[in-house]
Symmetry: C2
Subunit: 562 residues, 2 copies
């Protein structure tokens, strides 16, 4: 166990009265910055360290946050399933737990029988983040079974490896609460957070909270294929809203909702909007602040619930400049945290005066997918329903994940180091984005391929002019279009041609919200996975495959296709 | 990284022809023992080590196992939701992945950006298992990011911390497959396994696979409260089957099914049986082999699907002898593995000729709940449907869990050490069972409290003669009974009286399968959680609380109540 990154007393100082953080900018609420975290901690109760101890965001919010108006109520939006959930009898009994209580109630195994004495990890120190630098200067953080009892930590193996409450251990609830205030500063007071077993799990839970069989779920015209594959078996349908490079179009959303005909549609007017506002999957579109405000205003007008799925939120990039590749200085040079945060497009959570947003965050894309850990943020009422479901599904993220994340985030990096890590991977993904887009400019046949360079995320979405395919001409109907089967046939041929060149790309039709309604041809590539040189080679082969498929002239070896 | 507990070649030896294991006992199939594991491995392909590599139990089964007859088909039992699930587009694309393929398809982040260079754990070596011995002689096992590429391991951080296939990484699929053959030896060939994110998660998935709104799920009259709390919001009902100390009664099960009246019940004849056969929660009842065979025969007769939930399977104990406490020798002395296995009551999985059992195993009670990892075993068709759901919910256990479990089970203990660990914790829980039952004999008022000493698990279930409560007499109706509200009132008073003495017990009504139908009074205690001296003190206080509540004479300070 190493010193805390943000040292503080390990004793209860709850009797100290909190001062308000400084009011700034004429805002009616206080603005909580990184500099306020430590003073606030020093005046607050430390996180509880009992096994399965209860905690909530309110325990760790600033006084300013707690003074804001409350969220609206959402009873009318919950599904029958969600409304029917009751609190776990056994977890609820913990209300009667006092410090001297002996519990014979819950079947929580004694930590005597956890065959782990200590777990450790070697991790990078901020801001020297690369693998090579970690190998040299990384630090090892260790956690023993009884560190909390010994006053050495707020989370140890005896806590993390046992059953817990559905929101997660207090030590992590505190970290995420502080992070949320610093990054999003939600405009209402009674928001809460709960750790999730990853956003895929959280999305399923959220969908079951707000949908009934036969409902429509609104989303971008092209959306995360897993979301479609989650919604469909529930007996619901995705309703694709038209989009441009800035994401979904408010006018189309308003039009769909304002003209909804329940009997013609055989479904009630939809109220659930699933959106990936930043670095959208698959299109990489990123909603501007203006766009978000317009959509939020429509959510207010039509009383929507917004599922804000933001795995790529922190991967917001400098614009692409043709022919240039942003470098990543070694050792890495982060900008001041305040500048980084200022330049992020504000989240829906930060605009949400009503508490109608349930935001899904994930460690998958910013730490590692194998953490199977994320968190949800929303109104206390909504997060409570979320936790009632989580208690009877994933329960909690893995205790090993939580220990390793706690050591990384709290003991090693602290909030500042975490945000600097986010700057680092953003820089790395920016470099990778530049490499793939430059390769596309060089190797794809731009007479039929077009794209908007991504401003966020991990994906590059390429449109291919399907009308130029030989099969298209031969199958063209009176109105100039072809049938869906032909479109799919061309798409598959393109996919297989790339696969024959040993490159896998993702087919656009997989992401079509209303599957089977495609009229255009797209493919998605990711710049997250392959090494830089392999990405370039892969794009070169994709270019060749498309040229062959579309009967185009071979590219001039020297040529810049654009 | 330490040497493998069961050393083997790390190279592909797939060209070597497998020999059949020795046929024994005149069985028509081979019996696969621990001694067969290593020779079988040496003749088989090693587990795949690619990121998100596909694997299945068939890759690791003995030739004898593969020769058995196939399971029946279960299409008629799957829910509409389960039938509507399609394979993940993105995961499915991996079919086209060849060793030289560059994938731009799935958004799998490069392991370059996993901020973990190495993770380690200090764990006990077999058979020196206690905390004190681990502190002295425990070993540390470490895993680096690229150990698999470096030929040092079959699972490393670059694999475990990335996205994976729904069955889990091949290295763990192999271990669990071998374990399943050694312990259960299922009598059909095409069984498969998938890691789960714990049995609570697996149970939810399984229920959604086999139920529609309005269905009944059959279970023991008293059952795991979380199972009730999972079923109810789905719009299903639990149907309690009568039970005795050997668990649910075949006659009642047969009667319920044979006399089912769809119109009177307003529900189709049920076919899903949820059962905890060993150390049942909450009653600790354990079905004998004879009982299991009777129930399985009824499952064949009525075409049931059995969810066999077995977290306590390995905690099968020596009988309780009044006044005695089984000791745990230090250092621990395990019996030969074959003797341990021979004395376990066979599982439903081992009796399942049709493939109608989906067995849920969990590391929660035998390693640590925080692992949030278990596995399911069933027919390939059923496990495939399970995985299709898991892909859009928990996806996988945490990669940190998988690394730590892999190091513990595969690199450190091997199958033998794992089974010795199970003997060790069984011995510890036997000792604890003895302590709590002896304390109950000493401190509970046996004129109104009765019980069957547990033969397995973590729970002790105590019946309290509610007719002796003062309120009961005053509220007695013409038929001699009282209304449910009175029963609950007495139960609550007893719970609160114990809580007032700083002891938490679990109320019997929480576990009533058909909630609200209680006619008797029970409470459940666990001997898993509290230290031994605290358990005794707690039972003493519970005895005092009951005496006060029931207006009984105070116990003679010296007396043994029995």
């Amino acid at each position: 166990m190493a010193p805390h990154a943000e040292p503080e007393a390990l004793t209860d100082t709850s009797s100290v009265v909190l001062n308000d953080p400084v009011l700034t900018n004429g805002n009616t609420h206080a603005v909580f910055t990184l500099d306020d975290v430590l003073p606030h901690r020093q005046k607050s109760k430390p996180p509880a360290t009992g096994v399965a101890a209860f905690s909530e965001a309110d325990m760790f919010k600033s006084k300013g946050a707690l003074k804001k108006p409350k969220a609206k109520k959402w009873d009318h939006r919950f599904s029958e399933e969600s409304k029917a959930r009751s609190a776990s009898s056994l977890k609820n009994a913990m209300r009667f737990f006092k410090p001297d209580t002996i519990s014979l109630c819950g079947g929580l195994p004694s930590s005597d029988y956890f065959p782990f004495e200590e777990i450790s990890a070697k991790v990078p120190v901020a801001p020297e983040f690369s693998e090579a630098e970690t190998a040299v200067s990384g630090k090892t953080f260790s956690t023993g079974k009884h560190d909390a009892k010994d006053g050495k930590s707020f989370l140890d193996l005896s806590i993390a490896l046992n059953y817990g409450q559905a929101m997660g251990p207090a030590a992590l609830v505190r970290f995420i609460t502080e992070h949320t205030e610093v990054v999003h500063d939600p405009p209402y007071s009674d928001w809460d957070i709960a750790l999730s077993a990853g956003s895929t799990s959280a999305l399923e839970v959220a969908l079951r909270m707000f949908t009934e069989k036969g409902h429509y779920v609104m989303t971008e015209e092209y959306t995360f294929s897993t979301a479609i594959e989650t919604v469909t078996p529930m007996g619901c349908k995705m309703l694709g809203i038209k989009m441009d490079a800035d994401g979904l179009l408010p006018d189309d959303l308003d039009h769909v909702l304002s003209t909804w005909d329940e009997s013609a549609r055989r479904a009630p007017k939809p109220f659930l909007l699933y959106t990936v506002p930043t670095g959208q999957n698959p299109t990489a579109s990123t909603q501007s602040l203006e766009r978000r405000k317009q959509i939020y205003a429509l959510a207010e007008k039509h009383d929507l619930v917004i599922l804000e799925d933001e795995p790529y939120y922190f991967l917001q990039m400098e614009p692409f400049v043709s022919g240039q590749t942003h470098g990543v200085p070694k050792p890495f040079k982060p900008v001041p945290v305040a500048d980084f945060l200022k330049n992020l497009t504000p989240s829906y959570l930060s605009l949400d005066t009503s508490g109608r947003v349930l935001r899904l965050d994930s460690f998958s894309k910013i730490i590692a997918p194998g953490s199977r850990c994320g968190w949800v943020t929303g109104s206390k009422q909504v997060v409570e329903r979320f936790m009632r479901h989580q208690e009877v599904s994933a329960q909690n993220p893995s205790g090993y994940s939580m220990i390793h994340l706690y050591n990384l985030l709290e003991e090693n990096w602290g909030h500042k180091g975490f945000l600097e890590w986010l700057m680092y991977i953003r820089a790395e993904y920016t470099r990778r984005r530049d490499i793939i887009v430059n390769a596309c400019e060089k190797y794809l046949p731009t007479e039929i391929c077009s794209w908007t360079p991504p401003k966020a995320g991990m994906f590059h979405w390429v449109k291919v002019d399907v009308t130029k395919h030989p099969l298209y001409e031969s199958r063209r109907r009176a109105d100039g279009s072809v049938d869906y089967a032909t479109l799919l046939e061309i798409e598959e041929a393109m996919f297989l041609a790339a696969a024959a060149q040993s490159v896998l790309i993702a087919r656009g039709s997989w992401f079509r919200a209303q599957r089977g309604s495609d009229t255009e041809l797209f493919f998605r590539t990711t710049f997250a996975a392959a090494p830089a040189d392999k990405m370039v080679e892969a794009i070169k082969r994709v270019g060749e495959a498309i040229r062959t498929e579309f009967d185009l002239k071979e590219q001039n070896g020297n040529g810049h296709a654009r």
